[in-house]
Symmetry: C2
């Protein structure tokens, strides 16, 4: 049984062996650039791991693990255009390094390549796997559109925000596990429970992202905190703070977010103070804990040996209890 | 046996029955807007027709016909962003009516929806069908990237241009037929020959487009001619003219294309005169005829009854001998 780090190494070695080159170069260079360096590889590792837990052979799910990583990177390339993001994983984004058109098209190609890998499954389970893959792809697009809508909507509720990150992040965690499990021969009910486990862990993972971006320890987090505040991102922290605060605090927070002139450090500190005063960091930590527990409930229902479940519990902890 | 017009009507009726609605509306409204009104439906009709020719039941290939129409419309939505196109089928393009981000995302969703239909095939042939679909999707992206590259490349050869339109247009015609044939139970060799038939007819179709845009009879063509000249589009006519002309004519043509100040009518007439003087319209007509004949050679090799082949010959004629 390979552990998490071994699966990452295995996946990276196998990914490097794939060829993503072709003509015209403008289409394929951004794909290699995006895929080969960087990324935590969480999703494909979940696929490999789920498969291994059920049948002992992670490699059976390698094509689908690659498909999921390709799909994830396709969404990043397109999201970066929409978000005007200059940097991704410490490097220039595709649309900045090349241009918007190349980013659109190389993203589209990556999406098609993802399907080329996804379809490499036994015919008895292929349709089932593709159904999960398709539905997830559509939901991730829905999540991104909600995210875009919320940028200009000041009435977003916590429930709407959670639903958005469920679509944008949660379902792909769930699908990664479910697809791996199906390839490993899991029953539909086990695969479904693993899916819900993944969705909840994904939600915890995303909320942890929100939390770390503002409250992380910069020395451990490895990058400057406060990025979300500077870019006026409506995170769980911000939306929850609006919900919890009285009229004057709410106004103060809205004004701070809308003030483009404010000095970065001052703005970060003022917003952070409001969050702390309202106890938002603790509320977020509780919320993460809730999703983690909910995920565990689903995991409990999966028919796997206890020591195998332990591996998934470890992964879940790693994702929601991380400091970076 | 349904004829071409009956298959169009059947397809449109069935397409209208599909639901492309969902939340958020920003994602799904552009999809319905793009899909439901307009489009010649050539590609899905080819799929239905090929299926019917081999098994007598067009409806067996309906999901894949829908998949191909969805895929085609996805490429149009994204292409219109890249080409800054304001109008498509007489209506505002998605990125103009909504915005670029919505056009990217609703296009992505349409691509995923296309796969949702494509996968609805018998498990014995599913992987085969998806392989054709995936490879075609990737090639269409390659074709579009070549097209973008050629906008700023003044050294494009006729061979490169033909390869570009083969990828951008030809292969989807081929794939439409091949997928329909496979679902209808055709042998691999028949399906492959139909594919090549389709690619060549698609090439003829695209060259006819180039020709009509400049030399069409406006009363029959239904829209103003000269659009490609005004937008300095490097069509077969332009590239062939550069190839055939002496140094001074070449310079004149390049200058006319680069002159943004020129009065539209004057520019169109001057370029048209050069084309006519060099006999480019006749060369193009010959080239179309060549692709048509090559398509027919492939069709001859398909093992179908003569009266069934006649239906495909009619369709091919319709596409390359059209006046609009």
């Amino acid at each position: 049984m390979k552990n998490y780090e071994q699966l990452i190494r295995y996946f990276e070695q196998q990914l490097e062996k794939q060829s993503f080159s072709g003509e015209p170069g403008e289409l394929y260079e951004p794909i290699t650039y995006t895929l080969i360096y960087g990324g935590k590889r969480i999703r494909p590792v979940l696929t490999l791991m789920a498969c291994e837990l059920f049948c002992g052979k992670a490699e059976l799910a390698l094509p689908q693990a690659i498909a999921i990583e390709l799909f994830h990177n396709f969404t990043l390339i397109h999201d970066d255009i929409m978000d005007n993001a200059p940097i991704r994983r410490g490097k220039e984004t595709v649309y900045r390094k090349w241009n918007g058109n190349i980013a659109i098209l190389s993203g589209d190609t990556l999406f098609a390549l993802a399907y080329q890998y996804a379809q490499q499954a036994d015919k008895e389970i292929l349709q089932n796997i593709l159904s999960v893959f398709n539905r997830t792809a559509i939901e991730v697009c829905e999540g991104q559109q909600f995210d875009l809508n919320y940028e200009t909507n000041n009435q977003v509720t916590v429930g709407e925000y959670i639903n958005m990150i469920r679509l944008k992040t949660g379902v792909l965690f769930g699908a990664s596990l479910k697809i791996g499990a199906l390839i490993g021969g899991a029953s539909v009910s086990d695969a479904d429970n693993l899916y819900e486990f993944g969705v909840n862990i994904g939600l915890g993972f995303q909320l942890k992202d929100d939390l770390l971006d503002t409250f992380g320890d910069e020395n451990i987090f490895g990058k400057k905190t406060g990025g979300d505040i500077i870019t006026n991102k409506k995170t769980f922290l911000y939306i929850k703070a609006l919900e919890c605060s009285d009229a004057s605090t709410r106004q103060l927070l809205v004004d701070l977010y809308n003030n483009e002139e404010a000095e970065s450090i001052t703005k970060i500190n003022k917003v952070k103070n409001i969050f702390t005063r309202l106890g938002i960091d603790k509320i977020a930590t509780n919320e993460i804990e809730k999703f983690y527990s909910k995920g565990m409930e689903y995991l409990d229902r999966v028919k796997l040996a206890e020591n195998n479940k332990e591996i998934l519990r470890d992964v879940a902890s790693k994702m929601v209890e991380r400091d970076k």
